[in-house]
Symmetry: C2
Subunit: 469 residues, 2 copies
Amino acid sequence: MPPLARFAGTAALLLATTSASASLPPPPSAVDLAQQGQDPAWTITEGLTTEIGPRMAGTEAEAAARRWAVARLQDMGFANVREEGFDMPVWVRGTEEAWLTGPFHAQKLAIAALGNSASTGSEGIEGDIAYFASFDALAAAPDHRVKGKIVFIDHKMQPTQDGSGYGYYGRGRFTGPNVAAKKGAIAIVIRSIGTDAHRNPHAGVTNFEPGVKPIPAGAISNPDADQLVRQWQRAQQMRAKETPLGYVAEALRMKLVLTPQNLGTRKSGNVVAEVPGSDPNASPVIVACHLDSWDLGTGAIDDAAGCGIVTAAAYHVKSAGQPRRTIRILWAGAEEVGVFGGKAYFDAHGTEKHAVALESDFGADRVWRIDFKLPDSAKALSDRLAAAVMPFGVVRGRQPANGGADIGALVQAGVPAIDLAQDGTRYFDLHHTPDDTLDKVDPAQLRQNAVVWSAVLAILANSEDSELP
Amino acid sequence: MPPLARFAGTAALLLATTSASASLPPPPSAVDLAQQGQDPAWTITEGLTTEIGPRMAGTEAEAAARRWAVARLQDMGFANVREEGFDMPVWVRGTEEAWLTGPFHAQKLAIAALGNSASTGSEGIEGDIAYFASFDALAAAPDHRVKGKIVFIDHKMQPTQDGSGYGYYGRGRFTGPNVAAKKGAIAIVIRSIGTDAHRNPHAGVTNFEPGVKPIPAGAISNPDADQLVRQWQRAQQMRAKETPLGYVAEALRMKLVLTPQNLGTRKSGNVVAEVPGSDPNASPVIVACHLDSWDLGTGAIDDAAGCGIVTAAAYHVKSAGQPRRTIRILWAGAEEVGVFGGKAYFDAHGTEKHAVALESDFGADRVWRIDFKLPDSAKALSDRLAAAVMPFGVVRGRQPANGGADIGALVQAGVPAIDLAQDGTRYFDLHHTPDDTLDKVDPAQLRQNAVVWSAVLAILANSEDSELP
């Protein structure tokens, strides 16, 4: 059988056990696990989260995950399996406590420090809350509304299928702390960038401009933010009775203890593996995910599943016969805290030719759209790809592909890209929270990912030199 | 207008804004809050959870909640509003940490100590896990399978509409620690008695028999229990390879740090308020809820909502005109840790006549069934009640009413009881977790409760002496 025909058989077999389901699955039973044992996307996702769990960039857990990855990729028969190390600055969380301390009975909040947050010291700090409905409201505020206070940014994220709200709502986390610090805030607390209603804060990195002194910065869960807002509204009403002309939001007080630390420069690394192509002159196809995770959950949807998906696709293509182009698998390190792995890959390999780059880093729910950013020479190729994924419920998008964080530098440098866009409707319920655990992965939707990726990768890895660079 | 006719008008008005919804509501916006401001069930639930929050029995927070309750009940125009104090033993949690320490990479678990758990000391303890699929499996096990080990009880709770699984699954928490202690376990960890899939453990009390030395006892969240089970299965497989004949479950290790304390005897109390009846010789109707809560959440569904519901019903009946019988409202203290408030009420008032007792302590979702435990003289009365609640989607049950924890001693002593059974399908997603917060209360379903309770209470408070004792 020619490779593609053999692959089609594999895909049909996989699909036979696939059924779409948008609801949260029950945790897999032992029987489920055994039945899913043959599927590499599941095996990798289950194994990495169970045997390693949280794997914060630059820590011993991430190093253990690299060793695990090398062993697993070698076991699966990939070639040139290797770690490619790099150095990076490491930040780790410490004690994390927050209370609303007045004017009502003191109440504890569920909080997580943002990556790169400064420490309050072990004694903590206490201050008045300056409320802002959004990042834009904070950005527009005069300094005196902020100076000496603990800034709070409200603005509840709403879910979208394509995840397009992340950039908009996310500004409160990405740059809110920097803006608050420049205006003289003593700390900042944001409503989590998340769409759920559980007492689990959403972690994530923030960045301060050079020259701006970092301040303590944390995210509280949505129910805690709701509570803060109710208390703030009440406090305003109480003050309004005393001073009917004054807009006084300072009556609500918060105590904050956050003791994260910068550990200095530590080792991290990427793990790379290959399916060697039959044509040594053909440029490789690169498929990426990231190996590190935030530390609160076990990094199941972010991004063990992504590594499972891209690796399963490469495995299925390899099993169907040697492709013409080399497939290079990149399990990037240290994505969450600043895409250090993606940058290190580009520094090492950016001058090499790459035919096309794809990344899976948006959970484990089904692929619903395919987007392209390809040279004109690939028009017929993109039609073949769209036709190949159509039977699996995937529509053809009308916007250019975006790529992904770890292949971002490659795409920026002109490498073609394809997005297999996943359904993100519930992604930000779980993103960067303690709830990012294996039970949130729907095995049926994970299999759909593996099948769609396999179909796409089989075509790409056998594409012509006249189609891709 | 006669009182009942006036009440019917009130009920119709309330119902006009009621619509059934079984799905989780979005958090109430400020606009919602303003619109719901008139409904006492909401006002009480929102106010108690916002201004006081967690209110563990015997703590200053519970005392603050009593002061809040007295002020609120007086504001609402109730008579004879008072605290009735009692003493109780107080247990409070300390540090709570657990790790799976081997044979895989160490992973932290989300754990909460069970009420009355012993302390591990600040250094913690580490031991092999002895796995049991259920409480029954633990109870049947020979001592040598348990001695010197950390017992784990699996057995995932499944939701039921009437909550009937609580007694069955709950044995793992209620008496599992006592059984494990008697068999020589050094500690016990159970899968939370809960139906959700979030990283929030379910707290709750356990009890050791006199003469049994308490051991450290905790509950881990369902995703953490899933993780433990996966690691345990792997560990077994690994050992099985070495010793193919041996059933060796001990390879999985756990470290546990739980430092709860017994604070000795402290003050708690009930809050009682009345709607005085027009007939001083008629025995009162008692409606109960509990004011204390577990400490991880803000006690919204357990049981601020119950206090809101029974008090709203009494308020609506009072507003419609003076009833014949006195309505006595009991906001019991210290229910969660041993029903100390209910027992104190019975010690103080058990010899007084009570016409009938009702309690609301099963969340804030809609009433779906009415059950009776009434004397034969109340046959016509029960028919009137069933007819009154029928328009609100409530069916007539065929089992005797159960009562409720805080009125349990009264019912045991022969006081008639009626249950307005709430839909508990999602109750054990939230029960005793950090997630028991106001956003989980569906305002529409809460209003249905207030309406149904008002209809029932109006009839009961105007019932004849020939019908109820």
